[in-house]
């Protein structure tokens, strides 16, 4: 039961994150959307681990931790680029609106 709940929540987060990543223009919002998307995937992975029975399957746990570290590094790089871009142009959007 909890595994199903985790799984559904994870799927919802993936959907919200994907939507934000595609639709939003502001780079920080996109970075946040990427993190939501990532959290959704990790939650799904947790649900997969939970299904293995009491105590869960430890392998997905290890992968989630690795995944979080990778997502953190990528977010840090993204924020650094956004800050640099904002300093150069005064905007935090890689694709300025047309015209």
């Amino acid at each position: 039961m909890t595994a199903t709940l985790y799984g559904l929540t994870g799927a919802a987060l993936v959907g919200i994150g994907l939507y934000g990543l595609i639709v939003r223009r502001h780079a920080l919002r996109r970075l946040l959307a990427f993190n939501l998307l990532g959290s959704g995937v990790f939650l799904l992975f947790g649900a997969v681990a939970e299904r293995a029975g009491p105590g869960g399957d430890p392998v997905p746990h290890a992968m989630i931790i690795t995944g979080i570290v990778v997502a953190l590094a990528a977010t840090a790089l993204g924020v650094a680029l956004v800050l640099h871009l904002a300093r150069e142009t005064g905007r935090a959007e890689p694709d300025p609106p047309e015209g």
Partner: protein, 503 residues
């Protein structure tokens, strides 16, 4: 499960191929201005390791190594077949050429430490380690980490010159790459949930054609395509590759996009051969055809040389995906088995050499003239004959004219398309060849134009840089003269689906 080490295993060059560059990257950071010396020492050493690994694969067949002695599914395995060995050697050779080129442009003045010089060499080593990890991994999660490491090294590489437009291009590249890898990870989660393993060899035994596998394969393929910049997900590539310094563009365009292409093939042919359908293969090739036509036409329209070369990458990446539906066809028409497979891989390798040479050449024209507007480079050919020759030779390979690696690759793909009755892909290849002739000659014509007064380079171009460019271009041509050796190596551990086709 007790740790088991294979007693008959030879020296683990496969581990050294990943460890050497990554250890080098870590050591480069505290070394500061000596990072360049370290990289110039490690890259030739890495080429030797790559050649020894290839020799091992050649002699003993497929090499597998269980990390820490723990076998899958609990442990993580590394695996080198002929395809990975060829890619690892190609990477090392291209990096050697790029390092020889860059050793003077990314050099800190005596007694000082500059940000660009330190970052370039550390990133180059990190990128190399990530590439080798992607070519040698046999675990889908491990490959995810390699892909992310590649992104984290490639994006700063694209924005080494921190101008507004390169920062925007790098940020766009980062978003495409992050979305791609998270989709890939989502697919991997679904596969783990369904089959309890992410080891490619075990997955091939367990995975069957069912909805969860199709969903996972679609997610992972879409993610990898975003990273490979296959049409219509190519938008990030031209500004990111054209805005980087020449040495960085060469590595990004020649090697980085090939890693995610390599993983598409690993996924389709090695991990899930029984799952993919012929229709899916046709769809992938249709995207490739779109890339060839669209990328070539856009390349024809470019005013700046670096952008022209970048759009030509978009087009040439398309050819790689034609091999997916062609694999398995036309056996009798060719002297080798699995002609389309070999042709596709050979195209990846010869394009790597040719594109590295072209970007470096474009960088030298930019340096000599102070700009890279094609029309205003008139007469540069007389000022830089060696670089122009290299650009021409690399163009020869892109066009698929004999004798060049590109010729053999395209000939194999073409004959397979004809022999297997898929003539529509042959038409696309002919059209792509014509368009490529258009954009290569468009860049060459002003260079070779005769001018009243001889053109002098605004800034002197060092000899060793010219030799590096010519060397890479010659490698791409040499593949057409002596293709037999890489061919035989390629057949080691070739997936069955490469011979019999998918679906």
């Amino acid at each position: 499960m007790p740790p088991v080490a294979a007693p008959e295993a030879g020296f683990p060059w496969i581990v050294l191929a990943i460890l050497l560059p990554l250890a080098g990257m870590v050591a480069a950071l505290p070394l500061g201005r000596h990072a360049r010396a370290l990289a110039l020492l490690l890259i030739p050493a890495g080429l030797v390791v790559a050649l020894l690994l290839a020799a091992q694969v050649w002699r003993e067949g497929e090499v597998t190594y269980a990390l820490g002695g723990w076998t899958p599914p609990l442990g993580i395995a590394l695996r080198a077949d002929g395809f990975s060995a060829v890619m690892v050697v190609t990477t090392a050779v291209v990096l050697l050429g790029v390092a020889l080129f860059a050793q003077s442009s990314f050099r800190a003045p005596p007694g000082e430490e500059t940000r660009a010089a330190l970052l370039f060499w550390a990133l180059l080593l990190g990128l190399w380690g990530a590439l080798n990890a992607a070519f040698l991994g046999n675990d889908l999660f491990n490959l995810y980490v390699a892909l992310e490491l590649l992104t984290l090294a490639a994006v700063p590489m694209a924005s080494l010159e921190a101008r507004a437009e390169t920062l925007a291009a790098a940020l766009r590249y980062l978003f495409f790459a992050l979305a791609g890898s998270v989709l890939y990870l989502l697919g991997a989660v679904l596969l783990y949930g369904a089959y309890g393993t992410l080891d490619i060899t075990l997955l091939a035994e367990r995975a069957g054609p069912e909805p969860v596998t199709w969903a996972a394969a679609a997610l992972m393929t879409a993610g990898l395509l975003a990273k490979t910049a296959l049409f219509p997900l190519h938008l990030w590539l031209p500004p990111a590759h054209a805005g980087a310094p020449a040495a960085a563009s060469a590595v990004l365009s020649a090697l980085v996009v090939k890693a995610s292409f390599f993983l598409v093939l690993r996924l389709w042919f090695d991990a899930l051969p029984g799952v993919m359908t012929a229709a899916a293969g046709q769809l992938l090739a249709a995207l490739g055809a779109g890339a060839i036509l669209f990328g070539s036409v856009l390349a024809l329209h470019q005013v700046r040389m670096k952008l022209l070369v970048a759009y030509s990458t978009v087009a040439q990446l398309g050819y790689l995906f034609l091999m997916v539906p062609l694999a398995g066809g036309g056996g009798a028409a060719q002297p080798w088995d699995a002609g389309a497979w070999s042709g596709g891989v050979l195209h990846a390798v010869s394009h790597a050499f040719a594109k590295a040479a072209m970007f470096l050449a474009a960088g030298l024209f930019l340096r000599a003239a102070g700009h890279d507007r094609i029309a205003e480079l008139r007469g540069m050919g007389a000022a830089l004959p060696m670089v122009t020759l290299a650009f021409g030779l690399a163009g020869l390979s892109l066009l698929g004219l004999p004798p060049s690696g590109g010729f053999i690759a395209k000939w194999l793909l073409l004959t397979t398309a004809m022999a297997s009755g898929q003539w529509w892909w042959a038409l696309v290849m002919f059209a792509g060849g014509l368009l490529a002739a258009g954009y290569v000659f468009r860049a060459l014509t002003p260079l070779l134009a005769r001018t009243e007064t001889p053109v002098l380079p605004g800034r002197p171009v060092p000899r060793h840089q010219q030799w590096a460019v010519l060397g890479l271009a010659l490698c791409s041509v040499a593949l057409g003269v002596a293709p037999l050796m890489p061919f035989a190596l390629l057949q080691v551990g070739r997936p069955e689906a490469a011979e019999e086709g998918i679906g």
